[in-house]
Symmetry: D2
Subunit: 343 residues, 4 copies
C-alpha cells in the first residue's frame, strides 16, 4: 500500500507518547497499516487542509474547535489515550456527525484494582507498620500483634462507583465471599444485582462497610461529595480506600477522620500532586500513601496501544469500536477529572 | 442431663485455652452438652480411672503413653487444637483402636492465604517502601515510581504444597487469571489438574514462577530442602513467599538470595521466634517481615471451637468427623513442624 | 403530577402488548410516572402535533418516516421491544439527533442459553430417544445404552457469535471446563481472550468442536453462510445447535448432514415457522426440534418491561440508557433478522 | 524388575473387568509396575499361601472371611471398583490392621451430574414432549408452547445428599444463580455454608424447592425414607429428580405424585432393573426415564483405572491414597446400596 491508500491517523497523544503506549511490535503494525502524521495541539490547525481532510482517526485529545472540525471531513474516531475527557472539543457536533470519541482508561482497571486489594489487606492486617516494627526490633509475635487484625473474607465491602474499575475490584473480591454493596447512581439496579452485588444508596454504603473503595470519577455534581459527616457515619475502624480522584472527597476531612482514629485510610490520589513536603498526610498514622502509582504500569500503557489497534481494525471494516470505551453525549460534559501531567 | 449421661471430654488444650478457641456462646454449648474435665499433660495421668474410662474425647494433645491409653477405654477422638502433631502418643495403637486424631489447622488457611496475597502484591508493587518514601518526602509519582512494578494478573505463580492453605491461596488467585503450577508429592496429579492448576516438579515450579508461595509443612524428609541452588534457579526478580514453616528453607541462603537482588522475599515464619535483635533479616532490603502473625487471628481461633463442636455432634451420632482434618497412619509420624509456644 | 408534567410515552409495542411485557406492578409504575398514549403504526402519524411534540419516548418500533420524525421534536429514546431492528426508520437522522434506539433482546439470553445447554446434553446423552425407548419397552440399561454417550465436561465447544446469548452460554459452560473457541468477526480478539475463551476463525471453530452453538444474528453479510461444506468439515459425531436465526444456515444442507449421520443437530428456529406438516425435519433421526420456544418465556417478556423502566429512570435524569442495548449507526442497517409474528 | 520385586495385586474386579476400567495404556502401566494375579471370588481362597502372603493390593471386592484375611499378611489396600460396599468382608479387622478400603465411585459424579442438569432442564422446559409433538405435527410455537416453562436461573433448588455427586451438581448449578438448599445429616453445617449453599432439614428442602435432586446413597436408616407425604409437601409443579438409588424412595408413591400432576419427575434408577414390560412408569406423563445410564460411560469406567494407578503410586511410597474415597469404620456398615449387575 502506498500512503494514500492507508487510512490517515493524526497522532497527538500528549502527555503520552507513541512509544509509551505502543510496544515496538504494535508500533510496527500501526505504521504498516496507517499513514501516521505526528503532530500536537499547537501545530494541528496548521496542517494542510488536504491532510486534515484525509484524516480518519486522531490519537490523542488535542483542542479542536468548530472551525478545525469542519476541515476534518473524514474523521471517524478520536482515541483519547489520556483518559479524562477535557472540555476542549465540540462534543455535540462530534456526536451529530457520528464521530466516535473513545477512551482507553479500562487498561488501568486491573492494575488499580490489584493495588486496591493490597491496600485493603494492608490496612486490615497492619502489614506496613508490622514490617517497620520488625525492622526496628519492636515487632509483636503471633496473636499479640493481631489485636485489630481482621479478615477480608466475609467482610462488608462497599463500592462507590461501578464502572470498569469497580467491576475489576469486584472480580478480585469474589473469592473473599464478601457482602458487596454498590452505590452508583448512573447504573440500573438490576445490573448490579445480576453481577452479584447489592445496589444501595450512599448513606448505606458508608454506614455498612468494613472496607469502602471509592472508585467514582469526578463529575460536575460530585466534587467534594464525601465530607466530614460521611466519614463520621462510617463504622468505627472501617477502612476507606480512595482510588479514583482526590476531588471527590474533602481531603482535609478525610485526614481528620483518620487522625481521630475513627477510620483507617489509604489513597492513590491527592489534591495536589506532588503534595507539599510538609503536608500532614505524610506522617498520618493509620493511613497508607501511594503516589498516583496504581495504574501507571508499563503493561497498562502498552495495552492502550493494543486497544487502539483492535478498534482501528473494526473501524476500518465499518464496524463500531468495541475495545475502547465510547464517550456518550449525556455524560461527556459532566466529567471533570483533571488530566494527568505525569504518565 | 446429669453429668454421667453427657459424653465426657478431657480438656488439655495448652498452649491454647478454652477461652481462646471457644466463643462465649460456643463454650456454653460445649458445657451444656458435655461433661468437661479441665486438665493438663501433667495432671492427666493422675485422674481417677473412672474418669479416664468414661472419657469419650480429648481436646488438646497432652502426652499419652500406652499405659495411659489403656485406661482411656472409651476414647473415640483426640482434637489436636494446636495443629502440629507431636510425637507424644502411640499413634499406631490409636489408629488400631479406631480412635480419630484430628486437627483444626484448616482454620488458619484463609487468614494465611489473605496475608500471602497481600505480601505478593506488596512485593510486586513495592507498596511498603513507597509508603515510607512518601512519609519521608522521597516518593516518586506515577509511572516514575513503577519501574519494577508488575501485575499479578496473568503471572506465573507456583505453589509448593497443596493442602488446605495451598487451596485457599488458589481460590484467591483465580480471578487474577494466573498460570498456576503446583508441586505436591503427596497428591495425585489429577487432583491438581481438576482443580485447574498444573502439577509439576520442584525444579519447574522454582524455575517458572514469577511468584512462589511455599506452603508445605515440615516433614522428616523436607527439612531445609530449599537452599542456595534452588533460589539461584528462580527467575530474576521473582518473589519468594514463605508461609508455612521456616525449617523447610535454608534461611541464610534465602537472605543471601534476596540481598543479592536476584529475588525478593517475604516470610511469616523464622528460624528463631523471636529473631535476635541484630539479625540481618531485620534490615534486609527487598524483604517483607511478618512476625508469625499470618494465622493467629481471633476469628481463626474461635473457628477452632466451632469445628470441634460440629465434629462432636457427628461423633455423638456414631458418624465420623468431617470438619477437622484426620491424621493418617502413614503421615502422622513424618510431620515435624514445631508446635507454637505463642498463640 | 398532572399529565403535562410527566414525560409522555407513545406505546406501540406490537406484536408485543403492554400486558405481555409489563407485570401488573410494573405497569402501575409506568402509568404513575408517565403519560401513556397507546397507539400503533397506523394511527401514530394521525396523532396531534401537540402530542407528538411532547413525546419523550416510544415503546415499540412503528414505522417512522422523516416527516413524522420531524414532528417528534422531544423524542429521546425508542425502546424496540420486539428486538429485531426493522428498516422502517431513518436511523441516521435518529442518531444525528442523539435519539437512542435500544432493544430489550438481552432478556432472552438466559432462557435461550438454558435451552441450548439442555439441547447439547440431550444430544450428547441421547436422552429423548432413551425416554421413548423406555416408554416402548426397548430401553437399554447401563453402559449398554451409552455407546455414543459423551460428556460435556472437557469437550471442545464452539460458539459462532459472542453477543449477549453467546456470553450467557459461556457462563453456563464454565463449570463444564470445556475448551471454548469463539468466532465473532465483530469483536476484538482480546475481549474474547479476557473472557476466558479462544478467538478463532470460522474454519477452526467448525473443525475443532464437539459441540457447536450458532448464536449469531442474521446480517446482510451472513445469510446462509453455513452450508454443506461447512457441515462436512465438522467432526464426525459432533453436535450442531442452532439458536439464533434459521437464515444463517442452509437448512437443507443441515438436514442432509444430520441424515447422513455425520453430525447430530438441534434447532430452535426454522426457515418457515410453522414448518409444513410434511417437512422431512419432523422425522429426522439425530435431530432435536424446538418450535421457537427457547426465549419466549413469560419471565423473559416481563423482564423487558423492567428493563424499560430502569432505563426510563436514567433517561429522565439526563443519563444514557444502560440496561437495554443501544443500536449503533454502523450495524443497525446490517441486521436482517426477521421480526417475530408470534410472541 | 522381576516379578518378586514388583508389588503383587490380586485382581477380582467382577462385575467390572480389567479391560473395562483400564485403558490399553493404563493396563500396560499396571502390568509393568505390578505382578498381576487375576482371580475371582471363588478361586481366591484357593490361591497358594505364598501368593496371598505377598499380595499388597486387591482390585475388586471378592468375599473375604477372617481366615482368608489372616493369610493376606501384606495386604494394604482394597480397591473396590464396583463402588457399593457389600457386607462381605470383616471391615473392623481390616481397619484395625490399617488396610485401606477405597472406592472409585467419584468417577460417576460428573456424568451423573450432567444428566441431572439435563433432566432438570428437560422437565422445566418440556423438551422431550415438545420434540415428540413436533415430530407429529402438533407442536406449539413460541410462547404458546411455554405455558409451564420455567427458568433454572434463580430457582430454588434442593439437594438431598452432598457427597461427590451433590458437589458435582452444585458446581454445574453455580452459574444458574440458584438458591441452593442442602440436606445432608452426615455433614457439618459449616461445610455446606462455606460451599455457598444453605444447610437445611428434610422438611424444608422438600417444601421450598422448585427442583429437588435426590443424590443420597441408601443406608440402613434411609430406605424408603421419601414417601407420599413427602411428595405432597413439595411445591405444586416442582421437579423431583432421582439420581442415586431407587430404594431411598417409595417408588409407587412417587409415581402417584407425578400422575396426580402435583409434581413432575425423572429418574435414572428403578426398583427393578430392568423394569417389567407393563410397568405403569413406562407411560407415566410428566416423567422422564433413564435406564441407569447416568454414570455408565466408558470415560467414567476408564477413569476408575486411572484413579487406581494414581493411588497405587502413593501407596507404593508409603503414603495414604488420596484419589479414591476411603471407606470409614463408622459408615461402611450402614451403606446398603445394591451392587450393580450390569456395568
Amino acid at each position: 500500500m502506498n500512503n494514500s491508500e492507508r487510512p490517515l491517523i493524526l497522532c497527538a497523544p500528549a502527555p503520552r507518547t507513541l512509544d509509551l503506549i505502543f510496544s515496538a511490535e504494535a508500533l510496527c503494525r500501526l505504521q504498516a497499516g496507517y499513514e501516521i502524521v505526528e503532530t500536537d495541539e499547537t501545530r494541528l490547525p496548521a496542517l494542510p487542509d488536504e491532510v486534515l481532510a484525509r484524516a480518519s482517526y486522531i490519537i490523542g485529545q488535542p483542542a479542536i474547535d468548530e472551525a478545525l472540525l469542519s476541515r476534518l471531513t473524514s474523521l471517524r474516531c478520536i482515541f483519547n489515550v489520556e483518559g479524562n475527557l477535557m472540555n476542549n472539543m465540540p462534543y455535540p457536533l462530534l456526536f451529530e456527525r457520528g464521530i466516535h470519541v473513545v477512551t482507553t482508561t479500562e487498561v488501568f482497571a486491573q492494575p488499580v484494582a490489584e493495588l486496591g486489594i493490597a491496600l485493603a489487606l494492608n490496612l486490615m492486617r497492619g502489614i506496613v507498620d508490622a514490617d517497620l516494627d520488625f525492622r526496628q526490633g519492636r515487632e509483636k509475635w503471633g496473636g499479640e500483634g493481631n489485636g485489630d487484625a481482621r479478615l477480608l473474607y466475609g467482610a462488608d465491602v462497599g463500592l462507590v462507583g461501578y464502572g470498569g474499575l469497580g467491576r475489576a475490584l469486584h472480580r478480585l473480591l469474589v473469592p473473599f465471599q464478601t457482602r458487596l454493596r454498590v452505590y452508583d447512581p448512573w447504573l440500573p439496579r438490576s445490573i448490579i444485582v445480576e453481577a452479584g452485588a447489592e445496589p444501595t444508596d450512599l448513606h448505606s454504603v458508608l454506614e455498612r462497610s468494613d472496607v469502602l473503595f471509592v472508585v467514582a470519577g469526578v463529575t460536575s455534581e460530585n466534587q467534594n461529595f464525601l465530607g466530614a459527616q460521611h466519614f463520621a457515619s462510617m463504622r468505627k475502624g472501617a477502612s476507606f480506600i480512595l482510588l479514583s480522584r482526590a476531588d471527590v472527597v474533602d481531603f482535609d476531612a478525610l485526614i481528620q477522620a483518620v487522625r481521630s482514629g475513627h477510620i483507617t485510610g489509604a489513597s492513590d490520589v491527592f489534591p495536589e500532586e506532588p503534595m507539599p513536603a510538609d503536608h500532614p498526610v505524610r506522617s498520618l498514622p493509620g493511613f497508607l500513601r501511594s503516589a498516583h502509582r496504581a495504574g501507571a504500569l508499563d503493561a497498562a500503557f502498552k495495552k492502550m496501544g493494543d486497544y487502539v489497534l483492535e478498534d482501528l481494525e473494526l473501524l476500518d471494516q465499518g464496524l463500531p469500536p468495541q475495545r475502547c470505551k465510547k464517550a456518550e453525549r449525556e455524560t461527556v460534559q459532566r466529567m471533570r477529572s483533571r488530566p494527568v501531567d505525569v504518565n
